[in-house]
């Protein structure tokens, strides 16, 4: 699947390049920082990367697949992990409970998508509303604080290398190997490229859908649980993670139309976003200016990193459109 690619440059290059440019600019602007800027970026990035990896799996499962519930599931995971951890006295049980909550929320999405046949964006929107209702109910009279040991681990950076970031890096590698080297992985991307064709080839597309959405929900809740342990649980904790997770996945080179997943790019995208926020804060631009610049930068990265050559014709319509042609429901043009 990956071999079909027609460039020599791997698709995640652009996001890392952008991150490095921002990093250099940060050094130039502040004239200080050294390696700590990188250390701290790697301390914050893993949470966004975890959510991003889940989002990436969902997006690469074909056109129209997206999970807009990650933000609320993230917050819910955080609240549940801390609450359960506080009651039982064990942060492991807390994380387990968060994983369970993520699984349950994603199950709602899966049922709505596969059995009620609601388009993913609306199905996950409904899930997000339900997750937010549970969070609000939990938050009333909420008691509990993060476990000091887990918090200590998340802050632990021997020799300036955050240990938690290493764990997430290893996990990213695992996802990468899974996608490239296992039958399951290739089947998943096959579904993403052309669902109907994959089904004719004997791939169970339903199973793939169940897998990607459940993984995404679990990762979002787990990331939320860890993020809450890093600082403090909060109903609004996840709010920024929805748009950011989508953005870092796409900036990282994953195709929105499905069929190409780039786990390494999620790291590049996340680091780019985090460093960019830091740089913009540092320059002290007005919030208005920050937004305009951020928007134009995202568009610029898209302009450079997209699949088509900069000059010349678009080779062929999107895979997405190809699939539409295959879809029998398309009515004749009047």
């Amino acid at each position: 699947m990956i071999k079909v690619r027609n460039h020599a440059i791997p698709p995640w290059t652009w996001s890392f390049l952008a991150a490095v440019v921002v990093l250099v600019l940060t050094y130039i602007v502040s004239g200080r920082g050294g390696s700590q800027t990188i250390t701290l970026a790697f301390t914050v990035a893993p949470y966004l990367v975890l959510v991003g990896l889940g989002q990436m799996l969902v997006m690469s499962a074909g056109p129209g697949n997206i999970d807009v519930s990650v933000a609320k599931v993230f917050s819910l995971g955080g609240l549940i992990a801390i609450a359960v951890g506080d009651v039982t006295g064990s942060w492991i049980l807390g994380l387990g409970a968060a994983v369970g909550a993520g699984f349950a929320m994603a199950s709602i999405s899966v049922i709505a998508i596969l059995y009620v046949r609601i388009p993913p964006i609306v199905a996950t929107l409904a899930t997000s509303l339900i997750a937010s209702a549970i969070s609000l109910t939990l938050a009333k009279g909420f008691q509990g604080s993060p476990d000091p040991m887990l918090k200590g681990f998340l802050n632990w950076a021997p020799l300036g290398i955050p240990a938690f970031a290493i764990m997430v890096l290893l996990f990213t590698l695992l996802v990468s190997v899974f996608l490239k080297r296992t039958i399951w992985g290739s089947q998943m991307l096959a579904v993403g490229q052309a669902r109907r064709a994959a089904e004719y080839a004997g791939v169970n597309a339903k199973k793939t859908m169940v897998f990607v959405y459940l993984t995404c929900g679990v990762l979002a809740a787990l990331a939320g649980a860890l993020r809450a342990s890093f600082s403090a649980p909060n109903v609004e904790l996840g709010n920024d993670y929805l748009l950011d997770s989508i953005a870092v996945v796409v900036i990282g080179g994953t195709l929105m139309t499905g069929g190409r997943a780039v786990p390494a790019g999620v790291w590049g995208g996340a680091l780019f976003f985090i460093l960019l926020d830091g740089l913009l804060n540092l320059i002290g631009w007005s919030y208005a200016g920050q937004n305009v610049l951020k928007g134009f930068l995202v568009l610029a990265v898209l302009f450079l990193a997209s699949g088509a050559p900069i000059l010349g014709q678009r080779a062929s319509p999107d895979p997405a459109k190809d699939e539409d042609v295959a879809e029998p429901e398309v009515k004749p043009l009047s």
Binding site: V122, A126, A133, T137, A288, L302, A320
Partner: protein, 323 residues
């Protein structure tokens, strides 16, 4: 019994038409049900004043949903419409009021920006979702430049519109929504332009073979989205009396839900103006319903979510029965 007669009418319709019309029709029924429940709890709704009260906040949502519908008919999604509409309110409440010519230029520029966004999406095969997401940061920033603090003042003619009471005790918001929907319906379903939009969504190869330009068609479609976004912004300014770029970030997802409720598809090729109107009103009335029911506030979002799932599940059941 009633379903049996429904079956027959459905079967006598061409399948494509049934598929296109049925979802919106069911949403229309859901809308009526919600309106009836609201009216039972609060009979004061049944008057020109009552209907105007509960309908007027929905007008901007309905027009923004039309924009999203056009976007989805070409197979794209707009994740920036919420901040775009917000930005338009800031322009309307400042520039358009103080220096109308400059204001009009700014509004035209916004539409042009949308068309350029369409060109970017087409020429660089950038996914629309992420391009519009990136653009949404720009709209937010621009809106903050124009009006850093919510404020400004709607132009006088807009205030006059806000207090307009049409004859025959027809609620004014309904008139605006129906006119906007009718125009959108006409453009997307009765003109050559609409045919090209839909074929861009469903079968771009056919569009190229028939001599259409992908770039120009997409730019035109985005421009139409921009125009509808501007209209939504103008009606919203009338509702909030001023400008506020942060007024409606929630429109982004709500409009998508409205189009889906109305029978639209992500894969493009479908233009369902009337269905989208029903979808937008249904979603808008939910707030009224939730307020009138005075449910536990913590549960409100869950109820909202379940109603959306229920409406769509109901459609599935009816679709199965008509097969």
């Amino acid at each position: 019994m009633s379903t049996a007669t429904l079956d027959q009418t459905r079967l006598s319709l061409p399948k494509g038409l049934a598929r296109r019309v049925l979802p919106g029709f069911l949403t229309l029924i859901a809308m009526m049900l919600i309106l009836l429940v609201c009216g039972t709890i609060q009979p004061r709704i049944w008057s020109q004043n009552g209907l105007t009260l509960i309908m007027s906040p929905i007008v901007a949502l309905a027009i923004a949903s039309m924009a999203q519908m056009v976007m989805m008919s070409i197979g794209d999604i707009d994740l920036g419409i919420g901040f775009f509409v917000g930005m338009i309110t800031t322009i309307v409440a400042t520039l358009l009021r103080d220096t109308p010519i400059l204001g009009l230029l700014a509004l035209a520029g916004s539409v042009l920006a949308y068309a350029l966004l369409g060109a970017l999406v087409q020429l660089r095969s950038v996914p629309s979702l992420i391009a519009t997401l990136g653009a949404s940061f720009v709209w937010l920033g621009m809106g903050l430049f124009v009006l850093p603090v919510p404020g400004g003042m709607a132009p006088d003619w807009l205030f006059k519109y806000a207090f307009w009471k049409p004859p025959l005790s027809i609620p004014a918001p309904l008139v605006t929504m129906v006119v906007a929907t009718a125009v959108t319906w006409f453009v997307t379903r009765r003109t050559g332009l609409g045919v090209r939009f839909r074929s861009l969504g469903s079968n771009p190869v056919a569009l190229v073979r028939s001599g259409g330009s992908l770039v120009i068609t997409r730019m035109l479609a985005y421009a139409v989205v921009g125009v509808l976004g501007v209209l939504a912004g103008i009606t919203l300014t009338a509702e909030i009396g001023g400008g506020d770029v942060n007024a409606v970030p929630g429109y982004t997802l709500t409009t998508v839900a409205a189009v889906i409720l109305g029978g639209g598809m992500f894969t493009g090729g479908r233009a369902v103006a009337w269905g989208t109107l029903a979808g937008a009103i249904t979603l808008g009335l939910l707030t009224v319903l939730l307020t009138l029911l005075s449910l536990s506030p913590n549960l409100q979002p869950a109820v909202q979510g379940f109603i959306v799932i229920a409406v769509l599940a109901g459609r599935l059941v009816v679709e199965r029965m008509t097969r």
